[in-house]
């Protein structure tokens, strides 16, 4: 059985969050690896990449059927392999939720164009269904 989640984020909203809340925003929402992958050569953060990752976290939350579960943003990591292909790395509460739901495979796709970034996540529930 498949479930899907989608989310759209305005890139300017991320730019504003970085400007207003700076490191508190970055460290509360993104994993250290995400921040490394979203920095430009001059050390600044790329709001387009961050926005796409935030969209992926929300899309994953929806695909997992999170509802009102407490899932810290950092427990859904959105990382890129050497070719640049993104994947999800669940830890802590997000990993526990996926296990409880019987979800054994996740796929993610990111995009950004103009003022927006978006992500879609597909989750597959295995034969050993969770709650």
């Amino acid at each position: 059985m498949l479930s899907v989640g989608i989310d759209l984020v305005e890139i300017a909203a991320v730019t504003e969050s970085v400007a207003v809340h700076a490191e508190r925003y970055l460290e509360r929402v993104y994993t250290p690896r995400e921040l490394d992958e979203c920095r430009t050569p001059d050390g600044a953060v790329d709001a387009r990449r961050l926005a796409a990752r935030f969209a992926a976290k929300e899309a994953a939350f929806k695909a997992l059927g999170g509802g009102d579960d407490a899932i810290p943003w950092q427990s859904i990591g959105v990382h890129s392999d050497r070719s640049g292909s993104p994947s999800l790395d669940l830890t802590g509460a997000a990993a526990a939720l996926a296990t409880a739901r019987g979800i054994d495979e996740l796929a993610v796709s990111l995009t950004h164009e103009g003022p927006y970034a978006a992500a879609v996540v597909v989750a597959r529930r295995g034969r050993r269904n969770g709650r």
Binding site: E10, E16, S17, Y25, A70
Partner: protein
């Protein structure tokens, strides 16, 4: 509910909630997500509330229902401030 606290919360939502309606037109029980607050905006609301009330929302409170209305936020802040029965 503490009127001053509600006013501070309303101010934070007005500044960071990115509602699709004027914050002065909503009630303390209005569904903020229904009024246009995105999940990303809720992060900024949370961080601004932490600044305004000098507290930190623990992981267990990072749930939609805590930030769904001014009343709900006020209840969470009361709990974090060690108040009971409010």
């Amino acid at each position: 509910m503490d009127a001053d606290r509600a006013a501070v919360i309303r101010g934070v939502i007005g500044e960071f909630g990115r509602l699709s309606v004027d914050v002065d037109t909503i009630t303390d029980s209005t569904d903020l997500f229904g009024a246009g607050m995105t999940s990303h905006a809720s992060v900024n609301v949370m961080l601004a509330l932490e600044d305004a009330f000098d507290l930190e929302f623990p992981d267990r409170m990072l749930i939609r229902s805590v930030f769904e209305s001014i009343d709900a936020i006020a209840a969470a802040i009361a709990e974090l401030s060690g108040e009971h029965g409010g």
